[in-house]
Point group: C2
Chain length 409, copies 2
């Protein structure tokens, strides 16, 4: 099958499972000039599948870079918000959102962390309502990745570019099950399996998780009434969707103030185009009280300083070390893939749907329940082949959850 | 000089003369995926020249075509207007607007004229305030063209594509004076010359223009207190700008109800991607009472039916047959160029700045002065090498204005 047919299957997966497109629905497609063949296929298939109007927002890496490096500093913080406001309005009126991630890992490596920080913070503030609609899962949304030149070069630096891209597409199709005869069916099965896993974890209703490995020594308290989610989500109208393609994780929300110990990252993290490597966090009462990084320290610091909540964890996610993505035996250098090959945490905002009735709770009520309300949300990987996790039930009973990096039950 | 350097000179011309970028000004750049190299150069140079924030809106021809051919009919008329509303707000707060035209002449040739008509009308209505800010010249704006594959193929169908594009860029640089050593200075001279021409025409203060040629027999009444404009315009703050690159025309406003006779087009017209050829109009009391076209009749009809004013003329423009663009001796198949190689008229909206004090007149006052207030504005070419124009002054004195297609004075 040629790449165009595969790309069309990918577009179909994004529309049918990713956002689960409904008849006469509006769709927002946020993408990039790199991905025009996929963008066009998504628009074409969306209309053929019954979309009402597809609003396409095409960004460009080089223009973003020029803006961040050349615009006056004040312009990084002060800008017209017509676009994010327009999208927010559409989401409130039940539009679905597709984001195509076009990795370009070193894009902002020459931008000063101070300027990056200002710009990210201002964007987070302008997009607060938008971000909360997404993290509340009010609407159907999905993120999928596109193979860019930069990504392929990063992953296969020794291969000729066109061959590197071809090979990376193969891996992407494998990890997203697009290479299977019926990807839609395969995703239905994958969703069921993750939902079963969640059901078991929800039965145990753990109070704490205790992580131990060569790089990790953490005790994490889970929020009372927490819910484990994974695979597909449900929007406020009960329509199922898959927020991340691929996804192998189950996740829930920790008590914002209930983490102690220390952890070292097991994969590098790309923050606004800057690689942060070999970083570690020390926690006391949930707060990151100390941190270090081999590279990218300043950018990491700026992210942790976005607001008070950025210094606290908001998501706890479990992924077996032998997940299909792990089994591709490669580092994708792309959080969307690598987070699905490794247990991870996120600093910043929690998903309200990870607490019972959370999507109907006010900001104040969520804060009172110790649910992190930061503006930011950044995943980082902590999984390894020697990771052991025990869950402590409310009555103190200790259950083995992870053994040598994989599910123990 | 390589094409990148020439393209940078072109970007500079667009910024320095086109919109005459002011320090700390916001800029809207409306362009297309075809023109990314030029778009990026404009953004880069804009910031280097002191812009505050450049908002880039990147459209895509294929996505527009998919939308027009596949979206439900209702979606062509009903859509979110966040983008045009946002741009309108920016213009009200003194942003400048750059539009890069990326000709793709046959793009919509397979779209039903009915669907095209609905979409165009709805866009015109949504963009009413935006259009009126532009036509009132409240802000600095400019349109310049980019050489696309489709345009180059249309103009040089017998040449290999890369050579056709190279050759068309040469012609574009020639017609826009970018090939000269100092294009900015050349444009200053060109503006002065057009302004002098306007001053003379304004002195004569003609009541009528009488056109005669083998394809034209028209008597056109000019509005009382009309003003001839050309070259650079001035925005509401008195900042000079050049709305069209290139420009060779001087133009004014006719009395909406004061045209009688008939005229045949001397160049084809591209309407929404459909070629309208060999069309003719019969006028009675200003109204197009009859029309025909060899091809594109339906699309032309839809444009003329957008509103009541679309059946009336709103602009009268004079261009000598031996203008520099004419002298390139080619048909550019692009109104921005071809209108500057030929006398033309436009049906639809007039420029209020073509009447004394017009930019401060209300819609009602403009209508009472017989100034066309349609939502649309479409130029069409009527110049030829045998065109003769006489001007009749208020006291009946007859002055020769054009002789054998060129200025008589």
């Amino acid at each position: 099958m040629d790449n165009l047919s595969m790309l069309e299957k990918y577009a179909d997966l994004i529309l049918k499972k990713g956002i689960n497109l409904q008849p006469n629905q509006n769709v927002i497609l946020k993408s990039n000039t790199d991905a025009m063949d996929l963008n066009r296929l998504i628009v074409k298939r969306a209309y053929e599948l019954g979309a009402f109007h597809v609003y396409v927002d095409i960004g460009d890496d080089e223009i973003s870079r020029l803006h961040l490096s050349l615009a006056p500093e004040e312009a990084l913080e002060k800008f017209y918000t017509y676009k994010i406001d327009g999208f927010t309005q559409m989401l409130k009126e039940d539009a679905a959102l597709i984001s195509i991630a076009c990795p370009n890992i070193d894009l902002f490596k020459d931008i000063s962390p101070l300027r990056l920080g200002k710009s990210n913070k201002a964007s987070a503030i302008a997009g607060k309502e938008f971000g909360s609609i997404i993290s509340n899962q009010d609407v159907c949304w999905t993120i999928a990745s596109y193979v860019t030149d930069e990504w392929a070069r990063k992953v296969f630096p020794d291969l000729e570019l066109s061959y590197a891209k071809e090979k990376l597409w193969e891996k992407v199709y494998e990890a997203t099950r697009v290479n299977l005869k019926d990807p839609i069916k395969a995703w239905d099965e994958q969703s069921s399996s993750l939902l079963n896993r969640c059901a078991k974890l929800n039965e145990h209703n753990f109070k704490y998780l205790e992580y131990t490995s060569s790089t990790c020594n953490l005790k994490i308290e889970l929020v009372e009434n927490h819910v484990w989610l994974g695979g597909s989500g449900k929007n406020k109208n009960g329509v199922e969707f898959i927020p991340n393609i691929p996804t192998e994780e189950v996740f829930t929300v920790n008590d914002k103030f209930g983490i102690d110990g220390s952890v070292k990252s097991t994969k590098p993290l790309n923050l606004s185009g800057v690689m942060v490597t070999n970083f570690s966090f020390d926690f006391k009462d949930g707060r990151i009280v100390d941190f270090s990084a081999e590279t990218g320290y300043e950018v990491l610091k700026n992210y942790l300083d976005i607001d008070e909540g950025a210094r606290y964890i908001g998501e706890v996610a479990l992924v077996p070390f032998d997940s299909p993505i792990s089994k591709t035996n490669m580092i994708f250098e792309n959080t969307l893939f690598d987070e699905n090959a490794s247990c991870h945490l996120a600093f910043g905002r929690a998903y309200p749907s990870c607490i019972k009735g959370g999507d109907k709770m006010s900001e104040d009520a969520l804060s009172e329940a110790h649910v992190n309300r930061s503006l930011t949300h950044i995943d980082f990987m902590i999984g390894s082949d020697d990771l052991s996790i025990f869950g402590i039930e409310q009555d103190g009973k200790k259950i083995e959850v992870f053994k040598k990096g994989n599910w123990a039950f």
